[in-house]
Structures are given as C-alpha cells and as structure tokens.
C-alpha cells in the first residue's frame, strides 16, 4: 500500500530545486517540479489505501499532518498539453530500520504494519514530450557526467514510476 504526500501551501524544496534548475543549471525545459513524500507501507488490512491512510492521519501526524499536507494514492500527470510528466522515485541505497516509527504508528493507531519505507518522488513536467525521460535522466539525475540535483549518486538510488 502506498501514498504520496504533498504540501498544501508551498513546497520550498521544490521551489529551490526548480530555481537551481532554471537559474544556475539553465535547464528551462523543466517547466514545473513537484515533490511528494512517498510512503510504502507493508500492512495486513482490509481497508483500501484511502481509508487506511485517512485513519492513520486522524490519529497521528507521523506520515502526514493534514493541517498542512494532503495525500494521493495514485500519481496524476499534469493536465497541461504542452508538458509531459516524468515521475522519479528517490530512495537511500542502504536499507533503513524504521521499526521505531512502525511501532509508534501501530501503538497509536491500532494498525498491524510490518514495514514502512520512505521515498521521495519528484514530478518533473518537461516541455519536450518525445525525450522527456531521457532529459530527466541526463540532466536532473546523477550520471557519469556529474551529480544531478534530484538524487545523490553516492548514497541514493532512483527509479521511474508510471502514473
């Protein structure tokens, strides 16, 4: 089960990244950039994802604080005809022990979560639809030519997500 958490007001991480991409890297093909905290939850439940995450957020703010954040369970591409959305999922190379978080949520919410993983998903809206993924791959992500902005080549990995 998974959800994607976004900032309701302004996401300064995304704003800064886009400024760096436009201003300092001169890559204007990236029109918009959004950032989601991507929670991947291994849980035994009969609820559907929306109900499950709504239940958790009504009892704890560990996954998101509804006062400032919202979530979707499926990513949606941009409506804009001129751009093409590319979703990049970034995660640490080393596996992390999130058992303290799992324990807290289970304790507070009465859930039976086994594992939780936290990734960061970037939605890059690119105005060249043909090679948009290649553009993200070569310019925004780490490659042999240098470190990209969206992931650190030394301690992070990434993959593309289909919406």
């Amino acid at each position: 089960m998974e959800c994607f958490v976004y900032q309701k007001h302004i996401d300064l991480h995304a704003v800064s990244a886009l400024e760096a991409i436009h201003g300092f890297m001169n890559l204007t093909h990236c029109k918009r950039l959004s950032r989601f905290v991507h929670w991947i939850v291994d849980v035994q439940t009969e609820c559907d994802a929306v109900d499950f995450f709504s239940m958790i957020t009504s009892k704890s703010y560990y996954l998101l604080n509804p006062n400032k954040e919202g979530f979707v369970t499926k990513l949606l591409a941009s409506n804009d005809q001129d751009t093409h959305s590319v979703f990049v999922d970034v995660f640490p190379k080393e596996s992390l022990d999130n058992s303290v978080l799992v324990e807290k949520i289970n304790q507070h919410c009465g859930t039976c979560i086994n594992h939780i993983k936290k990734h960061i998903t970037w939605q890059c809206d690119i105005d060249i639809s043909e090679q948009s993924t290649e553009f993200v791959c070569s310019k925004l992500l780490p490659s042999d030519l240098g470190g990209g902005i969206l992931a650190n080549p030394v301690y992070e990995s990434f993959c593309f997500l289909n919406n």
Partner: protein, 265 residues
C-alpha cells in the same frame, strides 16, 4: 594577501570564521555568493563557512554547488590555492565533486548523507566529539598537528554522514583525513564515538595535494580557551579548569594557513 569567506544565502558561521582568520593575523573579507569573478581573483585563499545555504533544500549543499561561484572555486582549488570547507562548506565541496580526488574519472566521489545511528535516522546533533588526524603533514591546514593528537571539536549537523563511491580508494589513500575517535584516541566505529554513521569514522578529508580540506566539525568553535568546555575528560578541559589554558586547539590550523599564504604568495 587576503582570504575570502564566501557568504552563500543562508550561511551563518561567516562572522566567527572571519574572526578566526583575523585573530591569527590574516586579512579576510566576507564575499557574497553573487560577486563578480573579477572581485574574487585577488584572494589567496577561500573558506566556505558553515550554515544552511538554501536551507539544505533538496539536500544539504546541492543548490549552492550549482552556483557559478563554485566553478571559480574549483579552478582555484586545481591551481593549488587553499580552500577550506567547514560543515555546510564541506557539504558543498562534496556536492560539487571537488573532493575527493582519489580517482579523476569519478565525478562525484563522496556524499554527506543524513546522520545515522546503526540503521536508523539520528537527526541533527550538536555535540563535542574528538578527532585524530591521519597524515597531518599531508595538508597545508593540518601540518602543525601530530598524528597522535586527540583533539576535541564541536559538530553541528544533520547531514554529516560521509559515504564514498569507492571505499577501497579511501582506505588506501595516504592523503590527510580527520577521523572521529574517543577521548583516549581509540577509533571505534560505533555510536557515539562515530556520531553520525560516517564510513571509516570520517570527519573530514583533504585532496591529494593537501590544499583543499573539507570537514564537518567546526574548527572556528575551538579557537579560543573559552570554547573548550570545562566538562570534557581531556587535558585541555583540565587546563581550562585550572585557568591555564590560553588558546583553543584549532588555532594552529588557522596559523598554518596564515604561514602557508605568507610563505607562498
């Protein structure tokens, strides 16, 4: 002959870093990130101070590493000018690929990941720790230290966990490295001797020619006698309690930089 302390938007240790340089007799200026390269060309050394440039957005140091001024500093570093990155400055040097230079084919050889304790995120840490210096003679910054010294220093970071692209190169390298140890100099790889999960207990490292040093701990907070806490189980603290400590241990680093600049330029 003076040193430029680069002020990025969000730097916050530039003034005490400037003060540390001035106290040892180096003239220095705080130079904004958007300065013209021509204005920078007269400086004989560069310090990237601590802070939260661009609020550590995306991850610490990455936005600053894309700025034009980093291209200039990279050139200067290759020309042999002294470059010191402290804390956020260290993160910026890592993201820019200036350090390490063990293998010129690797464009980015290290990264500063979020602090870890075992397999869990550890978060921000403000603490006094100890470091030892491996091959202090290998760098213009550390040549006045001995490799037996155990030196107290403050860390203040949330992303100071050194990760290396090629661990073998780090292990076999002879260039200068700062290594976290305990108060008697033992290097245990576990918390709290290793405060953040860094590979090889790395606290800082130099390039092979010794003119670029990137370190996560704050030498400018170990400059004066009153910086060394009374409570540490260390000879310097004992001296402070007796009222006989005159300087902090890291003053030597700035003195060494001063002497190098005077000798060379």
């Amino acid at each position: 002959m003076s040193v430029a302390v680069i002020q990025f938007p969000g730097s916050n240790c530039e003034y005490e870093t400037l003060h540390s340089l001035n106290v040892v007799g180096l003239s220095a200026d705080i130079v904004p990130w958007n300065s013209d390269h021509l204005d920078l060309s007269t400086y004989k050394g560069f310090v990237l101070p601590g802070g939260f440039s661009f609020q550590d957005r995306v991850r610490a140091g990455v936005v600053s590493s894309k700025l034009p001024i980093l291209g200039f500093i990279k050139e200067r570093a290759l020309d042999g000018y002294p470059v010191l990155g402290i804390c956020n400055g260290c993160q910026i040097l890592a993201e820019s690929g200036i350090l390490p230079d063990y293998n010129p084919d690797i464009s980015m050889g290290m990264g500063l990941a979020p602090n870890m304790n075992e397999q869990s995120y550890h978060g921000f840490v403000c603490d006094w720790v100890y470091v030892k210096i491996k091959n202090p003679q290998g760098s213009l910054f550390t040549r006045y230290f001995n490799d037996t010294d155990v030196i107290p220093i403050q860390i203040n970071h949330g992303e100071g966990n050194f990760k290396f692209f090629n661990k073998e190169l780090v292990q076999t390298s002879t260039s200068t490295q700062l290594i976290y140890s305990d108060e008697i100099g033992d290097v245990s790889f576990s918390y709290p001797t290793n405060p953040n999960g860094s590979e090889f207990n790395m606290a800082g490292l130099c390039n092979q020619s010794g003119n670029v040093l990137a370190m996560m701990p704050h030498p400018e907070r170990g400059m004066f006698w009153y910086h060394i806490p009374r409570y540490l189980n260390h000879d310097l603290s004992s001296q402070r309690r007796k009222g006989v400590l005159t300087d902090g241990p890291w003053k030597k680093m700035f003195e060494s930089l001063r002497d190098y600049i005077q000798e060379t330029y």
